[in-house]
Symmetry: D2
Subunit: 99 residues, 4 copies
């Protein structure tokens, strides 16, 4: 990534996702791991948290994709060969993501 992804917004999104995943773990396991018993979680809360997590991941994907398109395909300095390689890469990621 020629442009450096250093903007705090992106890192904030990733840390939010980490927090949501930690929240899921906390719903299932008490702080102290020693006790084998797991916390009977509220199904709906778990399912809703996973739905929120998916939304956060989609938001992250769109932000990185937008930045990538702008900083790569959105600039005039690329050669035709570089452009074709960039389009190949974007399409391959979208094919994995859009199902």
């Amino acid at each position: 990534m020629s442009h450096s992804i250093h903007n705090k917004k992106l890192l904030a999104r990733i840390r939010k996702i980490k927090g949501q995943a930690q929240g899921l773990e906390n719903m299932l396991v008490p702080e102290t791991e020693q006790s084998e018993a797991s916390v009977p979680a509220d199904c709906m809360k778990v399912l809703q948290q996973i739905a929120a997590l998916k939304g956060a991941v989609n938001g992250l994907m769109m932000e990185v994709l937008e930045e990538h398109l702008r900083e790569h395909l959105g600039v005039v300095e690329l050669t035709q060969a570089q452009r074709e390689q960039e389009v190949d890469q974007v399409i391959s990621v979208l094919k994995t993501y859009v199902k």
Copy 2:
């Protein structure tokens, strides 16, 4: 669309989607519309047909998106302003599509 989407592959995808939608309608309504009674459809077949329809729509989206990226952002002739407009458009479509 400066490039003309005339390739038969794209139209074949669209006609397949029409056929799948028609297939769904046939599962529910007998050929002769006169009779009010509808055909009790096999739930699983209907649900599976809708899942197949979604897959076909995704395939169509990826094909058009790929062609669009190649023929617009993938060429060197655009000005910076044109590039930015193209990126704006692609991002706006992706934000509607990727949820």
Copy 3:
């Protein structure tokens, strides 16, 4: 499908999808098929139409799935074996649809 899907709402959704697919075809092919030349379509309109089509397919899936869950798993008369088979079927459809 023990319950008969005869409600007009469902058929209206399916016919809307057929109409959207037909709209896509019209964007690419002039009414008279004779002329080989295809209509250079407006990329964004085609991409937006496909996004709308996906939304319509999702709406249809949720409506049929809701009706299926209510009329099958939502009733008390099923045996344990029937319930397990119903859950198996719903899960298999969701695994195909949710990617």
Copy 4:
């Protein structure tokens, strides 16, 4: 959640997601936070990691949903009112998740 989600498979999925999110953060920020400079990340690696993260979240959703359907709607002991409430809840989660 009457059934207790204590099986290690579910927690392993959540911890994998945490690991993937951590991996994304590491791509952007060097271990030592002190330095303001961020690591210029490889776009494709970041985009591919996000796509993998989405896949992991989908896998988690399907696992919890399956367990929920089996242990709630898949058992005979529920009353009609309880069944209807369960169906309402599953549909509301699916409507948030399936877009």
